[in-house]
Structures are given as structure tokens and as C-alpha cells.
Symmetry: C2
Subunit: 145 residues, 2 copies
């Protein structure tokens, strides 16, 4: 399904998605056309979902991050899910097993803003909020093996 060359390509692109095809080809030991073809197929197969940039939220003015656990009140699950999706400051959210139904990450600028966002949720769910103090593990890939 995914051979060593594909894994090498992915490994390189995770570090630098804007590398030229030529340099990428040199590093994997193929010609550029074949590398281009592999790239095309990795995209086609949705192994690579997208090429993107990692932007520092602080540079956008979001100095604070919180992890919010959300447990909708009875009957409120779908409304709460929609509410979460429509809150743009929630930059990722998973639906999980266990007491909490959703766990999401929230980017914000001030405590007032956090308060406002949580207030909107509080009408329809119990929430539990933890402020992020640091990130011992910054987003990375699991082993490619």
C-alpha cells in the first residue's frame, strides 16, 4: 500500500512541503517525473490530505489556548455539536467515548473572550476548561514504519 519511497517522500514533505520537485527527487533517489507521479498518487489516494502551513497562533494575536471538554445536557448533543463547529475559535474538536462527549482546542486573546465563548456553550452543556501552559509535544507524525 505504501512503500519505503513513499514513506521517505512523506517524511521529507512533513519537514518542508515547499521543497522543489528536483531536490525531493534527489533525496529519494528518483527522477523528478517519477517523484511527481508518486506525489500525485499520494494526493489522489488521500494519503496526503493537503499541503499546508503551520502558522503560529500567537502571531495572529491568539496568545492563549485552552482545552475544553464538553458534555451536552440531555437532548442537546446535536445542537452543541453544531455550536462547536460554528465557533471559529475552536480550532479542532473530537467526539469521544467516555463522560465527556467532545474534547476541543480553543484559541483566544483574552479571558473575556474565553468567558464569552464558554457562556454560549454553558446554556446547553457542562464544560471543563484547562488553560494550556506549554506544549511538551508539538504536533508530529507517529512512526512511519
Amino acid at each position: 500500500m505504501l512503500d519505503d519511497l513513499d514513506r521517505t517522500i512523506i517524511g521529507i514533505l512533513v519537514e518542508d512541503a515547499r521543497i522543489s520537485l528536483k531536490d525531493l527527487a534527489n533525496q529519494v533517489g528518483l527522477s523528478s517525473p517519477s517523484t511527481a507521479e508518486r506525489l500525485r498518487r499520494l494526493e489522489e489516494r488521500k494519503v496526503i490530505r493537503s499541503f499546508t502551513v503551520d502558522v503560529d497562533p500567537v502571531a495572529l494575536g491568539y496568545n492563549l489556548t485552552a482545552v475544553v471538554r464538553v458534555r451536552p445536557l440531555p437532548g442537546m448533543l446535536h445542537i452543541v455539536e453544531k455550536l462547536i463547529q460554528e465557533t471559529p475559535e475552536i480550532t479542532e474538536c473530537d467526539k469521544v467515548t467516555g463522560d465527556d462527549c467532545f474534547i476541543g482546542k480553543l484559541q483566544f486573546r483574552t479571558m473575556e473572550q474565553l468567558d464569552m465563548i464558554l457562556d454560549r456553550l454553558a446554556e446547553r452543556a457542562e464544560t471543563n476548561t484547562s488553560i494550556v501552559k506549554s506544549s511538551p509535544v508539538r504536533r508530529r507524525l507517529p512512526p512511519l514504519s
Copy 2:
């Protein structure tokens, strides 16, 4: 600090980091050299931390994801932090305020593997694990305004 053109550039690159400089320049309404210069400075200022790819973990064989909350036993905080960093299946982890000290995301293939990883942590911390069922909000940027 960051003007409209910069935000436009970021917005476009988040969607497609491999867009050619020329196309990017056309979309923002500048010449390629000025666009290249802005790009260079966005990187230099670390607004853009890196260009990367979004890889589907399932394509790498990681069919399952869990969110793990970790509360180290007394005196174990630093050891636990190190242990988390050295567990490659933990693909992100934040240190947070509140009862839990760490909240991390774990990619794994089988329940046996999950069990093994959690067992290692369990010697030094209480853990609380939620399996991810779906992701109502896939990683996105907060508003650029």
C-alpha cells in the same frame, strides 16, 4: 505587524502550500518578487513556522486515535513529561492547568498497542483515556482578522 496582504497569503497557503509563487502573486495582486519577499519575511518572523503536509494517519496504519489525560503521581512530573515526549505514538501533548497535568493525543493500531502504551504510563501517573469516534472540527485556523 501583519497586514491584509500577509493574511491573504497565509489564508491561501493554509489551503495549498505548494502553490507556485506566480499563482500566489496573482491571487494576492502583487508581483512575484514582492510576494516572495513577503513570504520570506513571514518565515523569518516565524509567523509561518513551517510548510508541511497533512497526512492521514489511517493511511499509515493508525486506525485509532485516543485523547489521554495524564496526572502524574507525586514527584513524577518530570519523568512523566519525558516519558510522554519519548512515546512517538503521542502525536501532540499540552501541559495544562487543572486536575490533569497533561492532555495528549495518541495514534495507535490496536487495542493491545494502546494497552501497552498506557501500561507504561500507569506506573507513574493516573490516566484517563477517551477513544475518538469522529472529529467534528478538523484542524483549522482561528479567524485571521
